[in-house]
């Protein structure tokens, strides 16, 4: 089998930043399992079990978001403290290859969390081809959005500590304010408008609808897909122009 150089670069990045460090320190996986599951636990307890289903749907979206924030601090650290980005820039590896490879390597860390959520997904009786397609599509787009955001911001930060300040803000803006863990309708009117500016709102709507928690009509679904694609594509385009691959 001959592998194209680009594909080989992507596979190498997955190995180098995902598989190798995990094999050296498996506790990484537990760490990433802890945060979405503790949120789920909290929500379930606080709602006396009523919101467990929303927690499961939202937990997967949150997990994809955490791939992006993880990527953001890793890339900032590597770029700033190890000058790794400079090594990569002066090489055949292009920015898109680096972004895809590193985003996939970061995704590896979320696999245990995703496995638990998928288990719950099946337990809830939500497993059917139609909902699986929606879930897959929405999660891939959230992953792509969050990773592109993390990559782009990481080319700006001067210090890893800046990412520690920024990550909670991103989580707040993309997972707490938007109705990832509850139905959109639970928000007051003005907040519903604000939530429309987050791609996770549409991802959550689609997932919640696909499993029958908050069904949407066909037009709204179409609009949600378009919005989710639009945000992700728009951010990718913005990143292509604005990410500081070569320092301006």
């Amino acid at each position: 089998m001959t592998t194209s150089p680009r594909w080989r670069s992507v596979l190498t990045l997955i190995q180098l930043n995902g598989l190798v460090p995990i094999r050296a320190q498996p506790l990484y996986l537990v760490n990433l399992l802890a945060s979405p599951l503790s949120f789920l636990f909290f929500i379930t307890i606080a709602s006396q079990g009523r919101l467990l289903n929303y927690g499961v749907a939202g937990g997967m979206i949150l997990t994809m978001l955490s791939v992006g924030t993880g990527l953001q601090s890793d890339l900032t650290h590597y770029r700033h403290d190890l000058k790794f980005q400079d090594v990569i820039v002066a090489s055949p590896v292009t920015a898109p290859v680096y972004l895809i490879g590193m985003a996939l390597s970061e995704f590896v860390y979320s696999l245990p969390g995703m496995a638990v959520f998928l288990g719950l997904w099946v337990t809830m009786g939500w497993a059917n081809p139609a909902s699986a397609v929606v879930l897959f599509g929405a999660l891939v787009l959230v992953w792509a959005f969050a990773s592109t955001l993390g990559f782009t911001l990481a080319t700006y930060f001067e210090d890893v500590r800046e990412t520690f300040m920024f990550s909670p803000l991103i989580s707040l803006g993309l997972s707490v304010l938007p109705p990832v863990y509850y139905p959109l309708a639970a928000l007051p009117g003005w907040a519903q408008v604000v939530a429309r500016f987050s791609p996770t709102t549409y991802a959550a709507e689609l997932v919640q609808s696909a499993v029958g928690l908050a069904p949407l009509d066909a037009t709204t679904q179409l609009f949600a897909w378009l919005a989710l694609f639009g945000f992700t594509g728009g951010l990718l385009a913005l990143s292509a122009v604005r990410a500081r691959w070569r320092e301006p």
Partner: protein
């Protein structure tokens, strides 16, 4: 390849938030010939790293033109990148990898298949005496060993043009010489190396040509021998006592050193002084000025002058 590896014309870089009028490099003209080692020397903050980062397509110049390997590196960096490799100043390998992984992954990233990557990795680790620690985690290496791994990663590639920004900082004398030997090997392969260093003996013994950068401009350029000829006093005489300072001033430039004087002079004056010293039975050493002397002569004098003169950026 007949074209120069790097041609910079009127290159200028102003960092954001720099004081008004202060450019890290300014009106810099430089031509690095293809093949061989080109040394960049200069004081801290002279602009070496800024130039290296621009040429390695990591930093955008504010103005000026730059051709790298015959391609416009400002407009089409993507055409240059597959053909270059870089050890940035203060770079370190990813600490959770082993030595072998760091070198091999870098090759695989650049598109080599597993077999070729392994072969090249084994070779370079032997060359830089890292074979014994090949399975050790980078996090458990000494600072100098880490630096050597970084150099190994880049030397193992097939890039036509290598940028090494202070590759030997922190290495012991033996390790430095191993890096030198590896660089000479790369030079034999007709590849080009742009090297910055603060070790002037290293710059002199490795470089085919050298540029001395000061305040973002090239103030001396040429082969080490040419540089030596370019300075006012190409000979140094060391005297252990036996003279009064006033006696020496007519021979050249005098500075006091521990238990004696150091005199920089032109050849006839240097010989005359040495003869005089022998007559008086004063311990004396006569020899050509080395790069460090030249460096201090060219760059050192302005340092003294700076104490009271305003910084106007004008240099000889």
């Amino acid at each position: 390849m007949p074209t120069a590896a790097i041609v910079a014309r009127q290159l200028r870089r102003v960092y954001p938030r720099a004081p008004p009028g202060v450019a890290a490099i300014d009106s810099l003209d430089l031509e690095v010939p293809s093949g061989g080692v080109y040394g960049l020397i200069g004081r801290n903050g002279a602009g070496k790293t800024t130039f290296v980062r621009i040429a390695a397509t990591q930093l955008k110049p504010t103005s000026g033109t730059l051709e790298v390997l015959g391609t416009d590196a400002v407009r089409t960096p993507e055409r240059v990148r597959p053909r270059i490799a870089c050890v940035p100043q203060e770079s370190r390998p990813l600490y959770f990898l082993t030595v072998e992984q760091a070198a091999r992954f870098n090759l695989q990233l650049r598109g080599f298949d597993r077999r070729e990557s392994r072969r090249r990795t084994t070779e370079v680790l032997e060359e830089l005496s890292l074979a014994d620690v090949r399975h050790r985690s980078i996090s458990r290496l000494s600072g100098g060993q880490r630096r050597r791994v970084m150099v190994a990663m880049i030397l193992a590639t097939d890039a036509e043009l290598l940028f090494l920004d202070e590759p030997t900082t922190g290495l012991d004398p033996l390790a430095r010489r191993e890096v030198w030997a590896a660089l000479r090997r790369v030079r034999r392969e007709a590849r080009t190396i742009l090297l910055t260093t603060h070790y002037l003996d290293e710059a002199e013994s490795l470089s085919d040509r050298l540029a001395l950068i000061e305040k973002g401009r090239v103030i001396l350029e040429g082969t080490p021998a040419e540089l030596r000829r370019r300075v006012a006093y190409p000979f140094r005489v060391t005297l252990r006592g036996g003279f009064a300072r006033e006696e020496l001033d007519s021979f050249g430039r005098v500075s006091s050193v521990e238990d004696g004087f150091l005199v920089f002079a032109q050849e006839p004056a240097a010989r005359e002084l040495a003869r005089l010293a022998l007559e008086r039975g004063v311990q004396v050493a006569l020899g050509p000025a080395d790069l460090e002397d030249i460096f201090l002569e060219v760059v050192g004098r302005p340092i003294d002058a700076e104490e009271n003169a305003p910084d106007d950026g004008e240099r000889p």
